[in-house]
């Protein structure tokens, strides 16, 4: 069976959940080989983690010489690995960096690229959700090695022990790939809540919060949810840009999305319309967000949200 390369998405060696989803998908297409590009002393831990989800092989690439450069070196590493392994497909997480690595790799390998897949089946045949979720498209790569970026939650990660055989890979990265330097990096402080793109439940606040996110936070915490926001709330400086849901923010697809004090502009919808269940709390019964919802409350979020949070906490107790 051919290898399927899965680029491990990690922060300092801590493997992120979408990587386990990619490994689960990789098993449908061939034999999963995970690729770890990171600090040498973190490789063993990462290899152990991915072996639990079926990685038969783990290529480890010490990033000491390339960590300080943006995107391009990782694409080169994958190009060289692909040359050696002749994989049936290459799977990468569909986030900003992942898509850019995939883009450069597709040019290098002269291979077709599919981004933002929400499902991948044998073939590989991908499923994408386009035009703010109004169409579902199935597609295939017809040239070269299929390069596919996959969105979080595209598969339920399945544990199944793989051999996890570690193989150090010595890539030679060109000077050309070292042109854009990362001169400073400030990791985003964790909110202690789930990550937006991975969360099962999201509670978002908009201009209607008037800048007070306490009710949004309270409802989110009662449900173990992540907190999101509209651009209006971000532009007002109430929450960081990392919270923004929509066309120019994060595109999410949780099991449950609760929009509070958000009108439902098309650019916001573009980021949340494919959520399974949608709920809105808005004091204007004419707000367009109500066209989308499975359940809506016409009311003031400042009273509805805290009361709902209390009710939920009590029912859960």
């Amino acid at each position: 069976m051919s290898e399927v390369l899965v680029l491990i998405d990690h922060v300092d060696g801590a493997v992120k959940k979408p990587t386990f989803e990619l490994l689960t998908i990789a098993k449908r297409l061939g034999e999963p080989s995970a690729v770890f590009i990171g600090a040498a002393d973190k490789a063993a831990g990462a290899a152990e983690a991915v072996a639990k989800y079926g990685a038969e092989k783990v290529y480890t690439v010490d990033d000491a010489e390339i960590a300080g450069f943006l995107v391009a070196p990782k694409a080169e590493v994958l190009q060289q690995l692909a040359g050696q392994a002749s994989p049936a497909a290459i799977l990468i997480s569909s986030n900003i960096e992942g898509k850019e690595i995939a883009a450069r790799l597709a040019v290098k390998l002269e291979s077709g690229l599919i981004t933002d897949a929400v499902d991948v089946q044998a073939g590989p045949v991908t499923t994408q959700s386009v035009f703010a979720g109004s169409y579902t498209v199935q597609a295939k790569v017809t040239q070269g090695t299929p390069i596919i970026t996959v969105k979080p939650n595209a598969a339920a990660p399945e544990e199944s022990a793989g051999a996890g055989a570690v193989e150090a890979f010595a890539a030679t990265v060109s000077e050309s790939a070292k042109k854009a330097r990362i001169t400073k990096s400030e990791p985003r402080v964790s909110s202690g809540r789930p990550e937006l793109t991975e969360a099962a439940i999201i509670v978002s606040g908009g201009r209607g919060t008037g800048g007070n996110f306490e009710p949004v936070d309270a409802l989110a915490d009662s449900l173990g949810a992540a907190v999101g926001a509209s651009r209006a709330a971000v532009d007002s400086g109430w929450v960081p840009h990392a919270f923004q849901i929509g066309q120019t923010g994060k595109v999410v697809s949780p099991q449950l999305y609760i929009a509070a004090g958000i009108s439902g502009a098309i650019q916001h919808r573009a980021g949340m319309q494919t959520s399974k269940t949608i709920v809105a709390v808005n004091k204007d019964e004419e707000a367009p967000i109500f066209e989308l919802v499975d359940f809506g409350v016409v009311g003031d979020l400042h009273s509805v949200l805290p009361a709902a949070a209390a009710e939920i906490t009590q029912r859960k107790a």
Binding site: I96, A103, L113, T142, T183, S185, H241, T248, G296, V298
Partner: protein, 264 residues
């Protein structure tokens, strides 16, 4: 100094988008416009010019690849203040994927020649993948400075603040660069009456694929490296239940709904 800003012509963001029978996006039926996110790219290109030591010596060229009507995108950029325009139009381009589009854009940039800065938007508003700037950097062998929320330069030393996935980074590069900016980079200006009149007289080039040295067989639907197998309209969401909160009834009803869906 030469700056090229890549601008895309997209269907009006508020219009319903449709597929053709050959599973390509219908780019003609809906009225089009300059992609809203590319206005941010034009703004940054203009600021790079204005902040240059000798702004008079800097040209900002608005470049688009698309159908005849895509001239609208160039016009808008000229009205904002770009100096001249270039458009690649060729029947063979229809249905091109991002890889082919990036090939055409790269060839057009090489045709313009001696380009110092390429500025792009973060993504096309018509469902763009946000991958084109990285592809351009790869093809042109230039440093990639993408997802920029702040662009600064001292001559040919560039710094771009990048709002990445897990960190906020500062990217540095020198010489010629490809920059892509987000909608956090600064509100785009609106061309005034004078600018709109002036735009009519600004020079514009229109090129075919042959003019820029790209083989028609390498682009378009038949040369795409991906193929759409099927397209399905998502069933419209069925109208949900809406309740009006009265004295706390809304919170209870909400909790009941969430419980019925097993969220609590």
């Amino acid at each position: 100094m030469k700056i090229v800003v890549c601008v895309k012509y997209v269907p009006d963001a508020t219009a319903d988008q449709q597929f053709e029978s050959d599973n390509t996006v219908n780019r003609v039926a809906v009225a089009g416009e300059l992609s809203g996110l590319d206005e941010y790219a034009v703004e940054q290109a203009l600021q790079l010019k204005e902040n240059a030591e000798d702004p008079e010596s800097v040209t900002v060229t608005a470049l688009t690849v698309g159908p005849e009507d895509a001239a609208t995108a160039v016009t808008k950029a000229l009205q904002m203040g770009a100096d001249d325009g270039a458009q690649v139009v060729d029947d063979a381009i229809a249905g091109s994927d991002a890889l082919a589009t990036s090939k055409v854009l790269a060839a057009a940039i090489n045709k313009i020649g001696d380009v110092d800065i390429v500025v792009c938007g973060m993504a096309s508003t018509d469902g763009g993948m946000g991958v084109l700037p990285a592809m351009l950097a790869e093809r042109l062998d230039l440093p990639q400075m993408t997802y920029g929320s702040l662009v600064q330069n001292k001559g040919t030393e560039f710094r771009v603040k990048r709002d990445g996935d897990t960190a906020t980074e500062v990217i540095g590069a020198s010489g010629s660069v490809v920059i892509a900016v987000t909608d956090q980079s600064g509100e785009p200006r609106i061309g005034g009456f004078k600018q709109i009149v002036a735009a009519k007289k600004k020079p514009r080039e229109v090129w075919s694929l042959a003019d820029i040295g790209v083989d028609a067989g390498e682009v378009g639907l038949s040369a795409a490296w991906t193929a759409v197998e099927s397209v399905e309209a998502r069933p419209p969401r069925t109208a949900g239940e809406i309740v009006t909160d009265e004295g706390g009834s809304g919170a209870k009803a909400l909790a009941d709904f969430l419980a019925s869906k097993k969220f609590i």
